[in-house]
Structures are given as structure tokens and as C-alpha cells.
Amino acid sequence: MNESLLSGGNVIVQGITGSHGAFHTRAMVAAGTNIVAGTSPGKAGQDIDGIPVYNSIADIQADMRVDTTVIFVPAAHAKGAIIEAINAQVPLIVCITEGIPIHDMLQIKQRLKKSGSRLIGPNCPGILMPGKTKLGIIPANLSLPGTVGIVSRSGTLTYEAMASLTQRGIGQKYVIGIGGDPINGTSFTDCLELFQNDPDVDRIILIGEIGGTAEYDAADYIATHVTKPVYAYITGHYAPEGVQLGHAGAILHTLHESANAKTAYLQSSGAHTATNLVSLIDFVN
């Protein structure tokens, strides 16, 4: 994953005629994104503020190159939309849709492995490069161009971190929400690698959550590969013990997944940590 991939190129929107799709297409255009077309089965020939609507990605590709797709289709059709984009060899797929069944994601991961496409999400706010391009729903008016890289599992918490930095005059090069689902396309580690290798980025903010083990992989990567300062916050310090997955779950989901355990591990891996976001942002300042 590199800056040129995330810059979007020719961007399309799958589900462009839906209420979210149309609303956020306009917001993306306003933020500087080059949206060339959209899909909505059976609605070819319509347009959204002059952006042409097609029935399928293949139909768009007959007319122009597609570098990125942003997906807003409902959960019941999201697997089909992602697989369509993989089959069309779209290099970057950003899936905003929330509530995709986990068995659908298992199948999508199998297909991704055999493809050249990168998936961001699902159930994510997407990517914002302030002043350049917006692929998703991150509110661009609360960002500021700069040198911080933000990566987060949470949608709204990503905005919170970004807006807090902006309020203090600290700008961002990348704001990336990788999504809150247990199985997703792009990991913390992928984003840390991007930030470490981009000479424009001088500080990194990582926001994790209780549950799962993705933050441990991130911490190991920080310890071994990241030389830039990392500021990390894990949300959910006061969350009661999580939902149990029967006996099997109780075995696989231990205190290891708590905010305290993850924070301690990130700290021992060299990250600066805080127990709430307000303190973390004060730290970056």
C-alpha cells in the first residue's frame, strides 16, 4: 500500500443512487475526489450531479479506467459488490457498508488472496488525505493538511482524533479507518508500514479497541519496524467483560483482549499511550 494507490485516481461509487451513496458522492467531490462514474443495477443512463450511472463496473470499464471503488450498497448485496470489484481487477476497494455477515467476509478474504486488489474495510469510514482526496465518509471540513498519520478501527473515534488535532493546529497526511469488523481487508500493520515508509509522515496515531488481537500485531510491528513516534489509545477501559463465545470463546477470548492489557503491551513496544483520547491528544501536542 502506498500514497499513489490511496490517491484514488479514477474513482467510482458502487451504490451511487442510494441516499448515503448520493449524499457522500457529493461530499467526496467537494473534498477534491475525482469521481468519474457510479453503479446502480438497472439505473444506467441516470446521473448524480452530472456523474454518469452505469449498471456494472464492466460497463464503466468499457468507457474508462477504474482505479478505486467506494462501496455504499446495503449489507445484503455487499459481498456481490466486493466480488464484482475484485473480478474487475479494481486496485483499491473501499467498503463503507456495515453489517456484512461474517461468512461472506470469509469468502471475500479467500478471493482477495488470489487477486491484486486491496480492500479497506468493511464497516469503515474510509480514507482521507486532507486537501487532496477523500474515499469514504470522513468529514473533510474537520481535517487539516499536515504530517500526522492516523489509523483507527473505529469510525467516529477517527473523526474525534482528527478534529482534536485540527483544533490544535496539527495537520494530517493520512486519516484511515480500517473498520470495526473482526475480519477486514487492511490491518493496522499495513497502515503502519505506509506511515513508516512515507517521508512526509512524522508522527503516528493508532486507535484500537477491546476485543480481538490486531493491536498485538501492530505493537510487534512497532517494536521491530517503526522508528517514528507512535501515540496509541485503546478504547474501552471501563467496558465490562466481553460477550462470551461459549467455552471455546472463553478460551480464545481472555483478559488478553482488554484495553488495559493491549495498552500495556503497546507501551512496552515503544508506543506512547493514554487511557483516554483527550489525554492522548494533549500528549501529541
Binding site: 449489507a75 463503507i96 461468512h103
Partner: protein, 358 residues
């Protein structure tokens, strides 16, 4: 956040039966007359440990049957009263094993877990003692049957176990299950392999393709959690991450958060009103912090919802409202017109909340 539908044993076993997986003969007991005896009467409650709590009783006579039905139907187990009981044939048990299929998130695959020590004592097994194997393709079942037979030390059951795992796999996939746990997997004295108990959890996100889903088990609620009944600060936020972060910040500021509440992306008048009604049940409540960061949500819609809800609830405690994001300007104007102060950041909302708590 995944919403899981936890099935009761009898519901899970119906699904196993439809998948041709061997289960004990059973019936839903009629209070007047047993279908067969002897039988095991089992309380159908959505929790573990019912055997130790007296919720599983072997009955041999009609008197024992009637007395057990009466007792178990009134027996509360970890706060649950059974709506249904299950009667099963009493198996002649030789061995009790553990077998489950679940979704392993880090590897994004379906994993088989086994332990040769099954039954009620399974909690004493250490994590390292489990046999684990990912299913990566249909050709894996032969190998899994062989290695499971070796692991359980059941050399004559290779094909039975292969067939069982394959059927459980299809059951997991076709029912959009997150977990299918057979514990105990019973080896009977005459060598049959039978699912003695079954715990099954379904992925509620897939409900749209299962119009037949209709279960007694209720969905676990994950969007609203009480943290402290005596808390003074109630919290409302959108997105699980922001909702948890709001609680973290409130607690770190020395205040006592009563709850966690994620009202999600579709915050509207009805959902805000419903949230306020639940929060009003906290007796020590002094202030409600609302922390909404709108991406797909629109601030003006949330503002309208807050105003409408407040107008319908005159006894609502003070609100510390922080909105940001999409359509913020319209929202700020609406709230200001209705005399509700709007805070620029979460830190400011917490400062405002502190002033209400003396």
C-alpha cells in the same frame, strides 16, 4: 460489533438433526404424560452450569417425571427461568469428548477445536490442551477425520469423525453460525457417536437471508450496557468506539459513568427518546452527555431528535451536548434557538457536565 443469536439446546439440536448429525432421541415434555422413560429432563436456559445447578435430572418413573418437571420449570439458573424443557433418552456413556467449530478471526478461517476431556469439567482444560485445525478446503475433511481419531484415540472412528466434521461444517456455513460447540460429544457403550449437548450461536447480520429464523433465545444486547446503577453521568454516543471513548473520558475525569450506549448511525427522534427513557431509570442521574460525531449520520437530524425528545420529557436532567461533523452548522443553530448549549469538544462537554454535579 457482532450481534449473536444464542440458541437454546433444543433449538440447536433441531438444526443438528436437519443436518443428519446424531442426537439423542427426545421430546418436549407434556406435563401429564411422558413419551418414554427413563429420560433425562433438561432445563432450557441460555447459560452454562445448569447440571451443577440442578437443571438436569434423570427420571425413571411417572412420579419422578412429574415431580422433576414441576421442580425444574420453577428453578432459576443464573437469573434465567426456562420457558421450555427438553426430555431425552439417557445415553449409556462410555466417554465424553469436546468438539467445536468456530470462526478464527486472525486467520479468517473456520477452525475445529477438540479436547479428549469433555463434559462438565471442560472449563478446567488449559488453552494449550486443545487440538486445533483450520479447514481451508473440502479436501481437508479426510485428514481431519484421521487426525481427530488419532487425537481422541478412537482408531475405528476415522470415517465417522470425518463425516461428523463435514456435516458440522455444512451446518455452520449454511446456518450462518459463528459457533457450533458439541460438549459433550458422547461415545456410547455400544460405540455410537452422539451430540450430547450443543451450543450454537448465529450471526444476526445474516438474518436477511434466513426468513425462517424464529428462536426463543433473545438477541444479546450489545448497544446498551449498564456500568454502574448508581452512576451520575449517563452517556449517549454514536459508534461503539466513540461510545467507549466517551465512557473512558468521563471516568478519567473523576465522574461516575452509569452506562455505555451506542445509538448507531440512524439516530432519530424515536431512538433518542427511547434512550432518554432508559437513562431516566438511573436514580442518581445528574447529567446526560451526548457525544455525536457525524459522518454518515447528520448533526441536524440528531439536533431535531434531541429537541423533540426533551420537549416530551419535562423532567429530563441537564444535557451536555457535543455534536460535530456533517451538517454541524444547521444543528448548532437549531439547538441554540431552543436554548440548548452546544459544546465544541468532548473535553468541553465533560467540563459542562462537572458543573451539574455538586
Amino acid at each position: 460489533m457482532i450481534e449473536r443469536v444464542k440458541l437454546l439446546e433444543y433449538e440447536a439440536k433441531r438444526i443438528l438433526k436437519a443436518g443428519s448429525i446424531p442426537i439423542p432421541k427426545s421430546y418436549i415434555p407434556d406435563p401429564n404424560e411422558p413419551q418414554f422413560l427413563p429420560a433425562v429432563i433438561k432445563s432450557q436456559v441460555p447459560t452454562g452450569g445448569r447440571g451443577k445447578a440442578g437443571g438436569v435430572v434423570v427420571v425413571n418413573t411417572e412420579d419422578e417425571y412429574k415431580s422433576a418437571l414441576g421442580k425444574i420449570s420453577k428453578l432459576e439458573i443464573k437469573g434465567f427461568l426456562p420457558k421450555t424443557l427438553l426430555a431425552e433418552e439417557a445415553l449409556a456413556i462410555d466417554r465424553e469428548l469436546y468438539l467445536s467449530l468456530l470462526i478464527d478471526k486472525p486467520s479468517a478461517s473456520i477452525m475445529v477445536m477438540a479436547n479428549s476431556n469433555g463434559g462438565v469439567e471442560v472449563e478446567e482444560n488449559s488453552e494449550d490442551s486443545y487440538w486445533k485445525q483450520s479447514i481451508t478446503g473440502k479436501s481437508d475433511f479426510d485428514a481431519i477425520g484421521q487426525s481427530l481419531a488419532d487425537y481422541y484415540d478412537l482408531p475405528d472412528k476415522t470415517f465417522v469423525l470425518q463425516d461428523l466434521v463435514e456435516k458440522l461444517y455444512h451446518c455452520l456455513v449454511t446456518n450462518d453460525a459463528l459457533l457450533l460447540e458439541i460438549n459433550p460429544l458422547v461415545i456410547t457403550k455400544d460405540g455410537q457417536v452422539v451430540a450430547g449437548d450443543c451450543k450454537m450461536e448465529l450471526d444476526d447480520a445474516a438474518a436477511f437471508r434466513h426468513p425462517d429464523w424464529d428462536f426463543e433465545a433473545e438477541k444479546t444486547e450489545s448497544n446498551f450496557v449498564t456500568l454502574d446503577e448508581k452512576g451520575t453521568v449517563a452517556t449517549v454516543a454514536n459508534g461503539a468506539g466513540l461510545a467507549m471513548a466517551t465512557v473512558d473520558a468521563v471516568a478519567d475525569a473523576g465522574l461516575v459513568p452509569a452506562n455505555f450506549l451506542d445509538i448507531g448511525g440512524g439516530a432519530n427522534e424515536a431512538s433518542v427518546l427511547a434512550a432518554f427513557k432508559r437513562l431516566m431509570e438511573y436514580e442518581g442521574l445528574k447529567v446526560i452527555i451526548i457525544n455525536i460525531f457525524a459522518g454518515i449520520t447528520r448533526c441536524d437530524e440528531v439536533a431535531k431528535a434531541i429537541i423533540a425528545a426533551r420537549d416530551q420529557m419535562p423532567s429530563l436532567p441537564p444535557l451536555a451536548v457535543r455534536l460535530a461533523g456533517t451538517n454541524y452548522e444547521q444543528a448548532a443553530e437549531l439547538l441554540t434557538d431552543h436554548g440548548i448549549a452546544i459544546q465544541p469538544s468532548l473535553a468541553d462537554a465533560i467540563t459542562a457536565a462537572k458543573k451539574e454535579i455538586i
